[in-house]
């Protein structure tokens, strides 16, 4: 069963009013609020904000139909800086609030901005349930592998051994891989991007916004104050190519440039490994298929990742079509209303109040 079979729209923005033809194209400025931005100098959040502000005009939506809902954390200050509708809510609960909004308002493009602590610690339950339900939302998870706002405690994505004020001898928790977690919850759109890779981020944001259903985009974000350099090996031009696995649906999964290029091949027993291109021979090359119905292959790709960041897949892991929760909920209500001949009037309400078993006095 696909959304199209159900007569449901395929684009996440299908019901969202677009700018009328002939109206001047929007610019980054149209999406910049008058509020002073208060992140620390050098914070990766600035880079993401600039990317989102300059990307939003590309969607061609009416500004008033865009809503950013966030939780609590440095990252969750995001909505204040965008001249759209916005709600800075409470710690971890943004996916729930956004679910209520998206379910009652199909005409909005609803975004959630959250941090690794917000989304994966206190709000972990809401995140997995939003993904499971496939509510029409775009979730941007800013992962700096630290609790920024509370001044630097380790988070559920901090690598083991992270020394912080609350883990002076190093953290002993095993971290979540947010992409694996999302795929485990059978999210229909899962991607990872690097804050500093503007072009890639833009491509992913567009695909995520247009995805009908919950799109989760993990964005690696540097916190120069409490966890500086967490992703440095991925930004470092000398190492980048050997570490970043750029996922392209329909193409073989590779890493490394030119003669250092390695190709992902299947190993008997169901695992996979990178081998130098020259040694591939007759081995079965893994071709990425983001649209695969079964999330297992995407999950396997997400497991290439390790805390050492030897190989880090970036790009869109999964992008499949499945009916969204909010479409299905509205369809049930609409069908009930249609079957009864239209919206309930006073008579219908009166019949409801009377119920089936009445008696009359006088």
């Amino acid at each position: 069963m696909t959304t199209t079979d159900l007569g449901m729209p395929a684009s996440g923005l299908a019901h969202v009013p677009h700018q009328p033809d002939g109206e001047a194209a929007q610019t980054k400025r149209d999406f910049t609020s008058d509020q002073e931005v208060r992140w620390c100098p050098g914070c990766g959040d600035y880079v993401i904000l600039a990317a989102v502000q300059s990307f939003l005009p590309e969607l061609g939506l009416r500004r008033e139909n865009i809503v950013f809902v966030s939780g609590i954390g440095c990252s969750s200050r995001f909505p204040y800086y965008l001249d759209t509708y916005g709600m800075h809510s409470i710690h971890g609960r943004a996916p729930a609030i956004a679910t209520g909004l998206a379910t009652s308002r199909p005409d909005l493009s609803v975004w959630v901005v959250t941090g690794d602590g917000d989304a994966l610690s206190i709000g972990g339950n809401h995140l997995i349930h939003a993904l499971r339900r496939n509510v029409n939302l775009t979730i941007l998870l800013f992962n700096n592998q630290i609790y920024g706002l509370t001044k630097g405690q380790y988070s559920p994505t901090s690598r083991p051994g992270t020394v912080t004020k609350s883990s002076p001898l190093g953290s002993v928790d095993r971290p979540f891989n947010p992409v694996s977690l999302a795929l485990g919850a059978e999210a229909t759109f899962v991607a990872r991007a690097m804050e500093s890779d503007r072009a890639e981020l833009r491509t992913i944001l567009k695909a995520a916004a247009e995805h009908r259903g919950t799109a989760l985009v993990e964005i690696y974000q540097n916190c120069p104050i409490f966890n500086d350099g967490a992703f440095e090996v991925l930004k470092d031009r000398t190492q980048q190519a050997a570490r970043i696995v750029r996922l392209r649906s329909g193409e073989p999964v590779t890493v490394g440039a030119d003669d250092e290029r390695k190709v992902l091949v299947r190993v008997a027993g169901g695992t996979q490994e990178f081998v130098p291109e020259a040694e591939v021979g007759a081995r079965e090359v893994v071709v990425h298929d983001a649209a695969a119905d079964d999330p297992s292959a995407a999950f396997a790709l997400s497991r290439l990742d390790s805390v050492e960041m030897t190989h880090v897949p970036m790009g869109i892991f999964r992008q499949v079509t499945r009916p969204t929760y909010d479409d299905l909920v509205r369809a049930q209500v609409d069908a009930a209303v249609d079957a009864a001949g239209g919206p309930a009037g006073d008579d219908d309400l009166e019949a409801l109040l009377r119920g089936r078993d009445t008696w009359t006095v006088g």
Binding site: V69, Y85, I90, T99, N125, E350, D357, T358
Partner: protein, 621 residues
Amino acid sequence: MTSKTVQTLDRVVIRFAGDSGDGMQLTGDRFTSETAALGNDLSTLPNFPAEIRAPQGTLPGVSSFQLHFADHDVLTPGDAPDVLVAMNPAALKANLADLPRGATLILDTDEFTKRNLGKVGYTSNPVDDGSLDSWHVHPLALTSITVEALAAFEGLSRKEKERAKNMFALGLLSWMYTRPTAGTEAFLEKKFGARPEILAANLAALRAGWNYGETTEDFASSYVVQPAPMPPGTYRNITGNTALALGLVAAAHRAGRPLLLGSYPITPASDILHALSGMKRHGVTTVQAEDEIAGIGIALGAAYGGAVGVTTTSGPGIALKSETIGLAVSLELPLVVVDIQRGGPSTGLPTKTEQADLLQVMFGRNGESPVPVIAARTPADCFDAAMDAVRIATTYRTPVVLLSDGYLANGSEPWSVPSVAELPGAPVDLATEPNATDDAGEPVFRPYLRDPETLARPWAVPGTPGLEHRIGGIEKADVTGDISYDPDNHDKMVRLRQAKVDGVTVPDLEVDDPTGDARVLVIGWGSTYGPVAAATRVVRNSGRPVARAHLRHLNPFPANLGEVLRRYDRVVLPEMNTGQLALLLRAKYLVDIRSHTAVRGLPFTTVELADVISQTLEEVR
């Protein structure tokens, strides 16, 4: 056929008691419907265990349903039954203490086996050991008579036939109290329509029960209770939870806004979720959330988008929702939070009633976080209370807590169905344009610019062009809504939010003092309404004046409350907690309160409260 007498009674209290699997709730419900159709006034009290099927035949597994009906207005489900139907030894043991000597006892003797007696610690059989001599006992082999009556149903097993014994009991009681059975027959046809043999067996058992009463010598008399005089109208019997669900739908209808419920199942609130889930035709959206926090978050998100957002729960859920209620206080968005109170703390007594969440909903949040609080007083009143909650939430853009409890939720009474045109409420306006001008004279939108009368801020929903703005839980600057850490601004905003709640229009408290010379006032709130009214009636009938008042609004209080309290020599306040409203009244009005409290998971009895009032009257003599 023996000749039978027919006696007229003014009131009767019947309690059906059996194992959770015996269908006592259904039997009680059906008898109630028959009684309602006959035009008696009535009040019901179901009482069932938290376990779905506790071990069969044990005391924890006993489920009961009490019904009080009369030819005059009924205020409570009755203190003590006149008739107890006990389907097994456990039901007898669990309920006998409530049965006054001389009352009627109908027992299913088939169930009084050695094994069943042993399960509840009877060493001899009360049916024949003389221990029940003070009661009027009808020992009936109910199970075997039912099975015998269904001998012709060859396709049914003995077990299936036995299961119809509750219909036999219902038929017998229907004969005893001359209740019509047509409604029950129609009900059974609907319920078992797809299984014709089961249907026929249930109908046959119902008729056999009736005939048994009519033909055997065991029952010498049947009884008539005349209809109660009620104001003209169309009536239905309604439980508190159903009335509450209907009130929410009606209020949203009148407000012209869609209704969205975000809820997580919890006893005794789940029936509201069930009811609203079946009202899609009325544009109602229900989201069964992953937890209590999500339930209220979803409701708040929908409210932000312009819906009447509602969340329903019980005390443990309120604890989880507290932080989001605080957010709604700060965002100043309309939200209705329904708390069907049950025994606490912690899991407490999930299926029993209590009023111990008052202080939690008043103060159980961080910071100065005032919310209007209202409480329903009877099952049917849950409708009006729900409408009032939506009115306050949408008018003042604030979360409102609506308190009900397990007794109101599951109890029922006749309700005069209102006509929709007469219902209160009017379409609620959303903000559509800028409400101020900036320094340059340009129109701008100020999300925290208040209505001078209500102090409500505009409800400006996403999708409205030109009103784009950001809101959040961080303190906001007055008028602009921008983030502000300014000390004076915070002080001002805290006081503004308080002033807004304090300014909610609440009708003055009415005092019921027929003789006008009472020196003692009994004040109640929530579900104590019935017992308090019944107790004052008893006291007045003995010629002693006593005044009575009932609070619907617990925050803010009616403006005349202090004056009313000070008017009397003594104020008696019964509560099903350890004195929560008393604490508030003493603190706010510096009046002494005679706090009478009980937390037994059951409503007060009339006798108990009449005693308390009588004692107080003695003290002021």
